[in-house]
Amino acid sequence: MSESAPVTADERVKSEPFLTKLMKRPELGAMAGVVLVFIFFAITADSSMFTLAGVMNFMTPAAQLGILAIGAALLMIGGEFDLSIGSMVAFSGLFFGVCVVTWQLPLIVAIPMTFVFAAMVGGINGNIVIRSGLPSFIVTLAFLFILRGLSLVGLKMATGGSTQLRGVRDVVENDWLAPFFSGEAFGGLFAWMAEVGIIDTFKNGAPKVPGIPVEILWFIVMALAATYVLLRTPAGNWIFASGGDKTAASNSGVPVNRVKVSLFMLTACCAALVAIITVMDAGSTDARRGFQKEFEAIIAAVIGGCLLTGGYGSAIGAFFGSIIFGMVVIGLTYTDFDQDWFQVFLGGMLLIAVLFNNAIRKRVTGER
């Protein structure tokens, strides 16, 4: 063992086949799932499901969930849970609604305020978890109810007794910032493609798909950004480290608490983004917004390869997990199956994903 030891292969290590290497990627399960679900619907569903209009149709709910799921996935990799995401959607939706309707603020003020507000609530969540040392599961479960309740009470206060706050569309319609958060993007491109005949049109010549819903773009941008942060920045390494082993990470100089609180704030901001998009789309906000989304987001993250124990997973996985979700929830309407099979399907997918992830983890760590 001299200073310049020659590079010799260990004779006990077999060379790894490509497939085994692929098996070690956390997002593999979700990708395989997308393929399986696609095949399933390609056989059973009406052929219109995979036209451009059909794809937009299932990508829209996938994107709305996916934005939450990517936040949830990062937080899970960082070793924590947030069960209050769904309630956070309602709560920040209420705040946003009050900003634009009651206070008549322009979007350029209302949107940043909503994000700051959400980040503060996320920060409170995170600080309680960090300082008390309690499991985030129980702390955020409390916030699931607190925020949902506050949304109800707040809505009644803002509207004088109703649990729905209307009139958002009227005030934001002509705001220059609105196109970034509502409606469809690339309308001109799609109109041109309709004219040239690349995409289907209605009889009057208007394209059947007027553009890409903005949430899909947000969803893609966020998936790419999150993947970049995770795999190619020091912050990404800190997230993996904080989730993998908190003590080991902080002994190595990783600011674990700061990482975790930031992740809680990020998750809350993801919820706020979904709230802003959906509230502007619907033109109103109500207390049931985001109901049970926390579970769906966590399921999408787990299907995407995140371990419940933290330290392992991927944002791209959550991206595909959400697409599976969207395909199933919308796809069933294109088939002859009863739509309520959806829940069975979702639970089944979750179970398979967890078993699969467990096996992958053992493979990666070389446990026997």
């Binding site: 590079v7 002994n251 760590t365």
Partner: protein, 273 residues
């Protein structure tokens, strides 16, 4: 004492000034006195063994040294200047690296990611500042090769390494990041014979680079194999420091166990402990 030819011992550099000097350190946890006046110093290029039985205060002492605990009383001098560390990070930046028993390794993460955890090399500016994965991988493979470990690849998960290999990754990491003092908390306690000798050889290699090694152990034989000086802790106090060659394994053993009882026990066990 048997003549040990396996390891090269650097000259016990008595004339060199200590890197770290700790004087009369006391540490109280509530009404528990964990350390009641411990003095200790480490010189460059020596391996100073800190011996003691369970509960002697070894862990508390090294945690004080590495900035995890603040001493209740006593002074710490670093390169001649009085100093105190507020966080482990301060100590690390000053050049005191600790390899804890749990190794601060994350099994699910790759060797490279573990190696650079908390100190990732970056390239690019401001918004485009990113983790330089290629450089990290190259450095990690090279450093591990120097320590005599050939990785399958830089993305190999630490969970797949053996105990000795993990220990070596942790030591290589500390050395690479410019440790002047390397504290090893019972590095050999859970290892097999061959892995133990690998780790001891690594300690020797590190010492020859001029790094001061603090080797915590309760195994006299492992300590004698590489140690230049030996300090024994018992019930939160130092029982004195001996230089290599001045003390026999039996004497060390007795000191660690607190004398008489052990002598009797050893008699009945036929001197096998």
């Amino acid at each position: 004492m048997s003549d040990d030819t396996k390891f090269h011992h650097g000259d016990t550099a008595n004339d060199l000034a200590p890197i770290v000097q700790m004087k009369d350190i006391e540490k109280h946890f509530g009404n528990i006195i964990a350390l009641a006046g411990v003095s200790f110093d480490v010189k460059p290029g020596e391996c100073h063994c800190l011996l003691g039985d369970n509960g002697a205060g070894k862990s508390t002492f090294i945690k004080t040294m590495s900035g995890v605990h603040k001493p209740t009383k006593g002074e710490i001098y670093f390169e001649g200047k009085p100093l105190h560390f507020d966080t482990p990070r301060d100590a690390m930046e000053a050049g005191i690296a600790t390899v804890f028993q749990d190794l601060a390794m994350i099994p699910l993460m790759s060797v490279t990611r573990n190696f650079f955890m908390g100190r990732e090399p970056t390239k690019g500016k401001s918004l485009f500042k990113r983790f330089d994965v290629e450089q990290a991988n190259d450095v990690c493979m090279e450093e591990m090769r120097k320590m005599g470990i050939n990785l399958r690849g830089p993305d190999q998960a630490v969970g797949t390494l053996s105990g000795g290999e993990r220990q070596t990754v942790a030591i290589a990491r500390a050395v690479y990041f410019g440790a002047k003092i390397l504290i090893l908390d019972e590095p050999t306690s859970a290892l097999g014979v061959r892995q133990t000798s690998n780790v001891l050889a690594t300690i020797d290699r590190v010492r020859n680079q001029g790094i001061g090694v603090v080797f915590i152990s309760h195994n006299v034989r492992h300590a004698l194999a590489v140690g230049d000086r030996f300090t024994v802790l018992n019930r939160g106090k130092t029982l004195g420091t001996a230089t290599r060659g001045e003390i026999t394994p039996e004497e060390l053993q007795d000191l660690m166990a607190g004398g008489q009882e052990m002598a009797q026990l050893e008699g009945s066990l036929g001197g096998t402990v």
